[in-house]
Symmetry: C2
Subunit: 135 residues, 2 copies
């Protein structure tokens, strides 16, 4: 099947997940993302899951794995657009997503990455503490 | 099936097409996009088709229709990431895409929207030329 496209905006890579992920899709995405981070020198990865309405433990762990891998390339991962039902499922599965940052939507995710800038912390807090970008 | 998610970055709406579009998907997308432009006051629409490897005349006309509709809401549409094979097919089908603007990739598409004006450059900064944004 087709690989999930990875879009580039400045030094941020954007992945919009729109399909029911199979395990092999997840593995392919991890691989593609690592390569893209290396090739582009991206400092941030945003994974939009607003179209995802079902998760299982494998998918849940994917986010943590991608975030951990990205961090080895000095890039921060933010998962955005999580639906309430997905959040509930993740908690019920006992998946806290580890060090993965989350944000309500893409804009807030990009704002987090901007705020982190070059002084990214390994102690990653919650997204909703961040100031929205109001102009 | 699931609707194609529409992401918002500043006053630009971003659609990443990753599935083989059926006619009803296209119609749903047109409807959703129009509503989102109205709701958000977006000034630009970027449709990424880097994952699309097959087009037919219906899909080809979709871009022109979306662009025309968006223009009625004062928003500019840019189609980005077209594969060479898709471009060749469109020409062979006699579809010139009318007034639809195209760009090689998402960053160049965002740059076009910035050039045209109306979009907030602070949100879309660092997109095309890796110029740091002063803060």
């Amino acid at each position: 099947m087709e690989r999930i496209p990875i879009l580039k905006i400045g030094d941020v890579l954007l992945v919009s997940i729109q399909i029911d992920l199979q395990d092999r899709d997840v593995l392919a995405l991890q691989e593609d993302l690592s390569e893209q981070i290396c090739d582009t020198g991206a400092r941030g990865v945003v994974i939009d899951i607003s179209a995802v309405d079902i998760v299982d433990s494998f998918i849940g762990r994917m986010f943590a794995t991608i975030a951990s891998t990205s961090r080895l390339f000095d890039a921060t991962t933010v998962v955005v657009g999580m639906r309430p039902a997905v959040a509930i499922t993740l908690v019920e599965l006992g998946l806290t997503l580890g060090n993965v940052r989350t944000a309500l939507n893409l804009e807030k995710g990009l704002a987090i990455l901007r705020q982190i800038g070059g002084t990214r912390s390994d102690v990653l807090g919650r997204a909703d503490d961040d100031q929205p970008v109001d102009r």
